[in-house]
């Protein structure tokens, strides 16, 4: 008994000093928080321009979040390397939300309080919807490079942008190409009923676009669904087998996509499939993706494109991130920073511009930005808060994404 009581006496002490240390960090929370990436080149006199990045470094999307932070830092360093914007250096303030909408709300409000000129992020659609609904109150331009739910920017009443192709934009281009490539006229719809992005695409964009392009969804009234976290898809794939349609539309996150792909291969399913851009990740290619052929994905960034600046960007990223190759969406965040820089250069914004004025000018500048040459192809808002993006169609053949 003696050992434990000694243990018990010492533990409260260790807890106490840990708490005191954190108290210091807690109170200091109100001055510019988050880890600053300061200006690298010496001696420029102007106040720094601070830009906020809302990402996930500890939650469900940490693999996406880390690559996004790396790409954003890379862009900031490169801009600062050749003189920054109008003489002021860019300063990136990173907030980690752990993929939780509540934390994203807190992050955006803190960044607004700290006087950032614009916010890049948040990462997931769930967080983006919550944050965009706050935009009108905090009045800061917010641009996500990953959320792709349709109509999400309307929540922000002019303060919110999307440097990512929405589901409708993606499938308006992808569905006809898929139908033509494989001679598909009827399709079966399969999606993850628990995962908001997949459910949103499957119930919103897909049926709408399918009607426009004349694709008949055979099971529109009773789609085949499964739930996030499910590990056994034998029965789901069996139901798919029993549905007669030329092709399959499968909306899900990468993990579930891999599991279904493995099961489809096992049950000898050979019909062409079209999936969701979020499935285009390494874990899908290396996992279930190995065993399937003809799984088309509409992506917004082509890692293997022969464009020199794309190759340069990919190689620069591979040196920085922990587990290359990089996540496709991180390219959007790289372009977002350059777009913000160009808008600020055109409007002569620098570190000493008053915050409200800078935010208002950036908002207007972004809205009429068009034909911006990014690593993800030409991007233009041209009056619409949801950017038109170049869409690269790839077909996954045994784990290899080959351009169409």
């Amino acid at each position: 008994m003696a050992r434990r009581s000694a243990l018990r006496r010492t533990y409260p002490l260790t807890i106490l000093c840990a708490a005191l240390a954190l108290a210091a960090s807690g109170c200091s929370g109100d001055d510019p928080s988050g880890s600053e990436v300061g200006p690298t080149s010496a001696g420029t006199e102007g106040e720094p321009i601070s830009i906020g990045l809302v990402t996930d470094l500890s939650g469900r999307f940490v693999s996406f979040g880390k690559d996004i932070e790396a790409a954003t830092n890379l862009a900031v360093e490169r801009i600062n390397a050749d003189g920054g914007v109008n003489g002021s250096m860019l300063e990136l303030v990173v907030e980690d939300t752990g993929g939780e909408p509540e934390q994203a709300v807190t992050a955006v409000r803190d960044l607004a309080e700290d006087g950032v000129f614009a916010i890049s992020g948040p990462l997931s659609s769930g967080e983006a919807e919550t944050v965009y609904a706050q935009a009108a109150q905090v009045m800061v331009p917010i641009m996500s490079g990953t959320a792709n739910k349709d109509g999400i920017t309307e929540l922000g009443e002019g303060w919110t942008f999307l440097n990512q192709a929405t589901n409708t934009a993606l499938y308006t281009e992808a569905l006809p190409a898929w139908m033509e490539e494989y001679g598909v006229s009827t399709a079966a719809l399969v999606y993850d009923a628990e995962e908001p992005v997949s459910a949103g695409a499957a119930m919103g964009a897909i049926p709408a676009v399918a009607a426009d392009v004349g694709l008949e969804i055979v099971n529109a009234d009773s789609p085949i669904t499964f739930t996030r976290g499910q590990t056994d898809f034998a029965t789901t794939v069996q139901v798919i087998g029993e549905t007669d349609a030329d092709g399959l539309i499968i909306m899900s996150a990468p993990t579930e996509a891999g599991l279904i792909a493995a099961e489809l291969a096992r049950q000898g399913e050979t019909r062409p499939i079209i999936g969701h851009p979020s499935q285009g990740s390494q874990s899908f290619f290396e996992g279930g993706g190995q065993e399937i052929t003809d799984w088309m994905l509409p992506l917004i960034f082509d890692r293997d494109s022969t464009e020199p600046e794309v190759q340069e960007f990919v190689s620069a990223m591979n040196e920085v991130i922990a587990a290359p190759p990089l996540v496709a969406e991180s390219a959007n965040y790289y372009d977002s920073i350059f777009m913000l820089a160009e808008v600020m250069r055109d409007a002569d914004i620098n570190g000493s511009t008053p915050v409200e004025e800078a935010r208002e000018t950036i908002r207007a500048g972004l809205l009429d930005l068009s034909d911006f040459p990014g690593v993800t192809g030409t991007i233009s808002f041209a009056g619409n808060a949801e950017a038109t993006k170049t869409i690269h169609l790839v077909v996954v053949q045994n784990g290899e994404p080959t351009p169409l």
Partner: protein, 284 residues
């Protein structure tokens, strides 16, 4: 339809393996090990990460079992022993903390995306009058059955097994007979952890990957099955596991909108009918 039932039994077998772990620990020590789901996940992820591409697949299996057992024994050393075996609630909360540590260390080290199996899983399937059966599934069903029988024999035949069952009824009387109860708790958790590691490996054999975020969900389903089967009853856990597997497969097949809630609906129905679970011993 037989295909659906077969799928259900196979899924149920994996659930049962996990639930047996919980039941063993609760049956013997009247304590909840809420880190069990995270241990299941961690055993799978780490076993895939440390086995290189060339190694045969069973090596990963051995690693998974070893890691599962190791982490589970750690639960005894870090949570149950310091807090005290006579304080079930704080001990359970301590395992929640330990589960958080395991989950987030794995996420920080290996990311949040699913980890693919580096080895080639032998894919030999055959159809028997229309029903598609995969060798991997048959082998895993066989392993599960063998392990279930082995656990049953161990608990009922060996001296350590007898000591475990006695411990659940009267821990002091067991100590008075000279049985080293410290080792008893470590052994119980070790076996439970090994079973979780094995279950994780069998799932990997079928789906060739494991996702770091699956720990909490799988853990809760295991807990639900233990409760449905009746606390501390091994046969109850096995039966409830298989039953839930079949029910979920049928629900999938019928396109039942509430798939995610199947385990919970089954649990509520059973508790309304029998507040002690199917085969729960009358303990008061």
């Amino acid at each position: 339809m037989t295909q659906v039932l077969l799928n259900g039994v196979l899924l149920g077998a994996t659930y049962a393996l996990l639930a047996v772990g919980y039941t063993l620990v609760f049956g013997v020590m009247r304590l909840l090990t809420l880190a069990h789901g995270q241990i299941f996940m961690a055993a799978g992820v780490v076993s895939l990460v440390i086995t290189g591409p060339g190694t045969p697949f069973w090596v990963a299996g051995v690693c998974a079992v070893a890691i599962g057992a190791g982490l589970s024994v750690l639960t005894d050393l870090l949570c149950f022993r310091p807090v005290g075996y006579h304080r079930p609630i704080p001990a359970a909360v301590a395992t929640i903390g330990f589960g958080l540590v395991i989950h987030n260390v794995i996420v920080q080290l290996y990311g949040s995306n699913a980890v693919g199996a580096p080895f080639e899983v032998p894919r030999a399937d055959f159809t028997v009058n229309g029903v598609l059966v995969s060798v991997v599934q048959l082998v895993s069903l066989l392993i599960t059955a063998v392990v279930m029988v082995a656990t049953h024999l161990f608990v009922n035949r060996t001296k350590w097994g007898v000591a475990m069952r006695a411990f659940s009824e009267d821990p002091e009387a067991v100590a008075v007979l000279g049985v080293p109860t410290r080792w008893l708790s470590a052994l119980t958790l070790g076996i439970a952890g090994a079973l979780a590691g094995l279950a994780s490996f069998l799932v990997i054999l079928r789906v060739t990957s494991v996702s770091p975020s699956s720990g909490l969900e799988i853990g809760l389903i295991g807990l639900a099955i233990m409760t449905i089967g009746g606390l501390g009853s091994l046969p109850g856990a096995m039966a409830a596991g298989i039953a839930l597997g079949v029910l979920e497969s049928v629900a999938d097949y019928r396109g039942f909108g509430f798939q995610a809630a199947v385990p919970w609906l089954l649990l509520v129905v059973v508790l309304l009918v029998r507040p002690r679970g199917l085969l729960g011993a009358r303990t008061s």
